[in-house]
């Protein structure tokens, strides 16, 4: 089936540094999402993005977070500056259509460790 790729699979950085997580979505998809899973906890929605804009974000999407997809390349999640509580696995997803029927295709995740 369609595949979403995430680069890197693991990232370790020092608190206060900037980090960019990269997502290569399914090629013809138009809607993009980030989810966050703290170790041992439930997966939670962060943000969705369409047509160059954030459509919806949750309380977890702090001011230090930003997303973009410049020129149809990677869909990125940038955290600047990072904090200890940002340590988690971040999952990217994409869908062809938006709305509450659309199947979302998930990447394998990037494990972020903030020291």
């Amino acid at each position: 089936g369609p595949k979403v790729l995430q680069i890197p699979s693991h990232q370790i950085i020092d608190m206060g540094q900037m980090v960019t997580l990269n997502c290569d979505p399914v090629s013809n998809h138009l809607y993009f999402y980030w989810y966050k899973q703290i170790l041992g906890q439930q997966m939670e929605f962060l943000v969705n993005f369409y047509n160059g804009k954030v459509m919806e974000k949750s309380k977890l999407f702090k001011d230090q977070f930003s997303v973009e997809r410049p020129d149809g390349s990677y869909f990125t999640l940038k955290i600047q500056p990072t904090a200890l509580e940002d340590s988690a696995v971040y999952f990217c997803a994409s869908s062809l259509l938006g709305g509450n029927y659309a199947e979302q295709f998930f990447g394998p995740g990037t494990r972020l460790t903030v020291l």
């Binding site: 999402y33 989810y35 439930q42 929605f45 459509m55 997803a93 709305g99 509450n100 029927y101 998930f106």
Partner: protein
């Protein structure tokens, strides 16, 4: 918002046994997906199944939409099936809403 209850919370099987994982939810789901998460964290999509029955390999998903429930059946379990299984029924939202998961351990 959607309330999701997965049962059992955890399950231990001997290799070769079958497993039945249940998902009950509070609102009719317009989208329902099942996911498998490796012990190391990697996420794999199993089914998109808002209604009816779907099969892939040893896995079968059955969703009864008007009863707000879905099940995942694993036949002839293998040690590599160990991990956490998430049901994600969503309604009236762009977000995928995940349940708390069933942690499966298959012993050799």
């Amino acid at each position: 918002g959607q309330q999701v209850q997965q049962s059992p919370a955890s399950l231990v099987l001997q290799e070769g046994e079958n497993a039945e994982l249940q998902c009950n939810f509070s609102s009719t789901a317009t989208r329902l997906q099942w996911f498998y998460q490796h012990p190391g964290g990697r996420l794999v999509s199993l089914f998109y199944n808002p209604s009816g029955t779907k099969h892939t390999g040893r896995l079968t998903s059955t969703t009864v939409t008007n009863e707000r429930r879905s099940s995942l059946h694993i036949s002839s379990s293998q040690t590599t099936d160990s991990g956490t299984y998430f049901c994600a029924p969503s309604s009236n939202t762009n977000k995928v809403v995940f349940g708390t998961g069933t942690r499966l351990q298959v012993l050799p």
